[in-house]
Amino acid sequence: MASRFNIIHREHLLLAWLIAVIVVFFSLTTFAARAYHRKQERFGAVWYRRGEQALKQSRPADAVEDLRNALAYSRDNDLYRLRLAQALMADKLPQEARSHLLSLWEKEPGDGTINLELARLAAMWEDTRQAVRYYHAAIYGVWPDEPTAHRWQIRFELSEYLLRRNIAQDTKDAQAELVSLAGELPSRDAAGQTHLGTLLLRAGLNARALAAFRAALAAQPNLMPALNGASEAAFSVGEYQTARHYLLPIVAQNPKDESSLEMLNLCELVLKLDPFARGLTSQERARRALHGLQLALARAQKCAPPAPAPASRPASQTTPPGDDVSSLLAQAASKKSRLSERALASNSKALEDTVDLAFKLEKASAPCGPAGLEDKALGLLAQQWEASR
């Protein structure tokens, strides 16, 4: 009995001894591990700071080395890995950057920054499908601070990328992004609305662009890029009065801005030549119609080429039968005796026919060489007339 007690007692003692040794060993290891981790964290932080500094000083190669060192001390530190990826991109090492970003993406597929960087890489490689996918993931992704601002910014970036590609389908996709952005962007954000307006203009959504510029100008009336954009948008949609309104302060502020000056002059000429402008008397309309016809005749007569064989004409310049310069000149000659201000003022149908003839002549004379300012104005009116019909 006593020997059995001794054996059990000894067994207890041995196990207790073993556990005591484990406790001591564990404590010592804990102490050593804390020191080890502190050292690792310190090394990592030092290398990270150096890398950040190198990035700020535009030394991406040094930044890459430093951040690699930082990452070696903290392999699961996502911030270090992300900064390394960004440094690699800056150092023109996109493959390696992508690899790190994919590692991060695996862990955080909804992270906005990671998706954005991956989108930029895909955009750089012209992999549009992936780029759009990552851009969208970034737009709807998680952003630790100012998520809305980030989303707007990325939508801008995505739209710019799509417009830069200059492919019809991509332009359509860009239009969709911009329309969506127009609904989200606050109207008081003058800079944002201006940026939006500029992209809308590039995407061919001129009316929406004008609205964006108007919103920008409402928030900041003298914002020059918005004024420029608004004038261009208004001009594009045929709102010459509005365009003139925006061009006047531009020219006043910068009289040497030739393109704005020319556009202003053009606007004024359009307004001056337009026979269908509101508030005109019938005499004035008749006078403008006759003046327009004279301008068109003068240009057409200057070049009046012999009617070319139909096959040799480019398709884009093909005019309907009877709408070539010679036929139109012949029409004008036949009508000349009946055209007077009084006759036109009293006969709106004759007025319309005269204006129509003038515009057709102007259009048919387009291949005749560079047009003067008045001819350009008449051409713009002709386009508007054609569109309205």
Binding site: I8, I22, F43, Q95, R98
Partner: protein
């Protein structure tokens, strides 16, 4: 205590066997957990020591200062050689074979000095840039700790033998943070057989050591490779090519060690003092241009997985790592082969992936996947542990989607390496050291003899039906003294001729005269099973598995022995033809 005379703990009074407080099995399992904790703590300290030494020797940057890369490995190599030759002669090499020796030769005995020596010398060697890894030493440290604890608790000789592999699994699991791969490796390579008794202990030890390791060093997998996806089914062909490349690289590596190690080992004692230093200096010279080859190289494997290197650089790094590891290992410097194997594999894999991307840019997945698969391929090719190689890749990457390419590459690398270099590296090393340890790889080559190889067709006279016994006079004329008799339920039993004649003449169906049920065999049973079952029976029935009443043959002890004899002479002839 000398290595050749380990203490025998089989005296019943001094063991735990038969005690009431805890049965031997329960105690063994409890000890496995404690050993796992010990091994985990030791491996954590070991890894921290290696890093601390590296910081002391080379500073905190990944790229070591040029002036130190030659000096440090050389000087530290001298120190390591001094320690190994003078104080710890048993710590040379990787540690896997030493653990196997403890299991098969020294009754599980690993001296305490080996643990200390392995810890110090391996940490110094790896920390100073020798091209070796910390996993095999961790395995030996774990095994040593287990042996020490087992001896302290006076375990029986049988359990003391088994406790060393339990510690080995714990050490390896903590070193790699891979419990499954560690268990498989110890079963595949160290123990060499699947045994339910030891499996539970090995698993418990591995899991507890990994828990400890993760507690201190974090739960992240060893590598964080970018996501794998198969770009096209044709990409599997590239992974097959990677398997072939891995097999060839494995063959070059093993053959180089096979050639160089015995020559260096044969040098006199002064040579043993100088060899690690010379290897260190050579590695240092190489490292002036390619510092990636120094040490275990995990950071560089991670970089290779993240596309840092062009394929040409990856190819060069693979070649240089083979060279530097062969130098370090053959010089007798303590340290492991696992990490260099993975390094070479990552570089070969990355290079193959890089070439594929060059040729087929739109059909190539991330390079990291190739590096990962390459690791598995080299592991299968060099260490010849095919199951472990698959699970190791899955566990070190935490990526289970990659399994298909891993299996393809590993299988090819394994087959190519095995056909070009039949002897596995650990068997090669043990034979170079004059030891003859059992080899699972060679066991796999041995064809199991089955009952179908020994059985013969039953003669109609020897097999009778109880319901239709011939008359006694006919029975008397039949040859043989023992007969198979099928009873009414269709089962086969056996009866001697005398009892059969008695039964045939007295139809009163005396119970004591009915045939006894015989143990039966199936054609696919091994002859080992047949030997166990045959007992004193003159022969046993061999029956169909689907129709157990259908007799397909009979087998006697003489048939079994004849089959063994025949196979033995076939193997002798084969060995003679190979030798010639």
């Amino acid at each position: 205590m000398s290595a050749s005379s380990p203490p025998a703990n089989d005296d019943a009074a001094g063991t735990f066997a038969g005690r009431r407080f805890l049965g031997e099995d329960q105690l063994f399992l409890l000890l496995s957990i404690l050993i796992g904790i010990f091994a985990g703590l030791a491996v954590v300290c070991f890894r921290m020591s290696i890093d601390a030494l590296r910081w002391i020797f080379f500073g905190s940057g990944l790229l070591p200062p040029l002036q130190r890369v030659v000096l440090v490995p050389g000087v530290v190599g001298l120190v390591v050689a001094f320690l190994v030759v003078r104080f710890f002669p048993r710590v040379r090499g990787s540690g896997v074979n030493q653990t196997k020796s403890a299991l098969y030769i020294y009754d599980g005995y690993i001296p305490g000095s080996t643990i200390i020596g392995k810890f110090i010398t391996s940490a110094l060697a790896i920390g100073s840039g020798q091209s070796l890894g910390p996993e095999d030493p961790s395995l030996q440290i774990g095994a040593g700790l287990a042996s020490l604890i087992g001896r302290r608790l006076k375990l029986s000789r049988e359990n003391l033998r088994l406790i060393a592999p339990v510690g080995a699994a714990a050490g390896l699991a903590a070193a790699f943070n891979t419990p499954i791969a560690a268990v498989l490796f110890v079963i595949e390579e160290v123990i060499g057989r699947w045994s339910a008794g030891v499996l539970g202990a090995v698993v418990l030890a591995a899991v507890s050591s990994v828990v400890v390791e993760r507690w201190f060093l974090g739960a992240e997998p060893l590598f964080r490779a970018p996501g794998y996806r198969l770009e096209s089914p044709g990409e599997l062909l590239a992974y097959a090519i990677l398997g072939v490349a891995g097999g060839l690289a494995a063959m070059v590596f093993v053959k180089s060690i096979k050639l160089l190690r015995p020559r260096l080992k044969a040098l006199p004692t002064w040579g043993q003092y100088l060899l690690p230093a010379v290897a260190g200096v050579l590695i240092g010279l190489i490292s002036r241009h390619y510092p990636q080859v120094m040490g275990a190289g995990y950071d560089y494997m991670d970089q290779a997985m993240h596309d840092q290197y062009a394929w040409e650089v990856l190819g060069i790094l693979a070649g240089l790592k083979i060279l530097t590891t062969v130098l370090s290992f053959s010089s007798g410097t303590p340290g492991g082969l696992f990490a260099p194997t993975l390094f070479i594999g990552a570089m070969v894999g990355g290079a193959v992936g890089g070439v594929e991307r060059l040729l087929f840019p739109h059909f190539t997945g991330p390079l990291g996947a190739y590096a990962l698969v390459g690791m598995g391929a080299l592991f299968a090719g060099i260490l010849r542990a095919p199951m472990t190689s698959v699970f190791l890749v899955l566990e070190v990457s935490g990526n289970y989607a990659i399994i298909l390419p891993v299996i393809i590459s590993n299988a090819l690398a394994y087959l190519i390496s095995r056909s070009l270099q039949p002897t596995p590296i650990f068997d090669l090393l043990s034979r170079q050291d004059g030891l003859d340890l059992p080899s699972l790889e060679e066991d796999r080559e041995v064809t199991v003899l089955r009952v179908e190889d020994a059985m013969r067709s039953p003669t109609p006279q020897a097999t009778l039906r109880l319901e239709a016994l011939p008359p006694p006079e006919v029975l008397r004329s039949l040859p043989g003294d023992f007969f198979l008799v099928q009873n009414r339920s269709g089962k086969w039993g056996g009866l001697s001729k005398a009892k059969l004649i008695e039964l045939a003449s007295d139809r009163a169906s005396r119970v004591d005269l009915h045939p006894q049920d015989l143990p039966h065999l199936h054609p696919d049973h091994s002859l080992d099973v047949a030997m166990r079952r045959i007992g004193d029976w003159p022969f046993l029935p061999v029956v169909h598995r689907a129709e157990t009443n259908k007799l397909v043959g009979v087998v006697s002890l003489a048939d079994i022995l004849e089959a063994y004899r025949k196979r033995g002479s076939e193997l002798d002839e084969l060995a003679e033809s190979v030798d010639s």
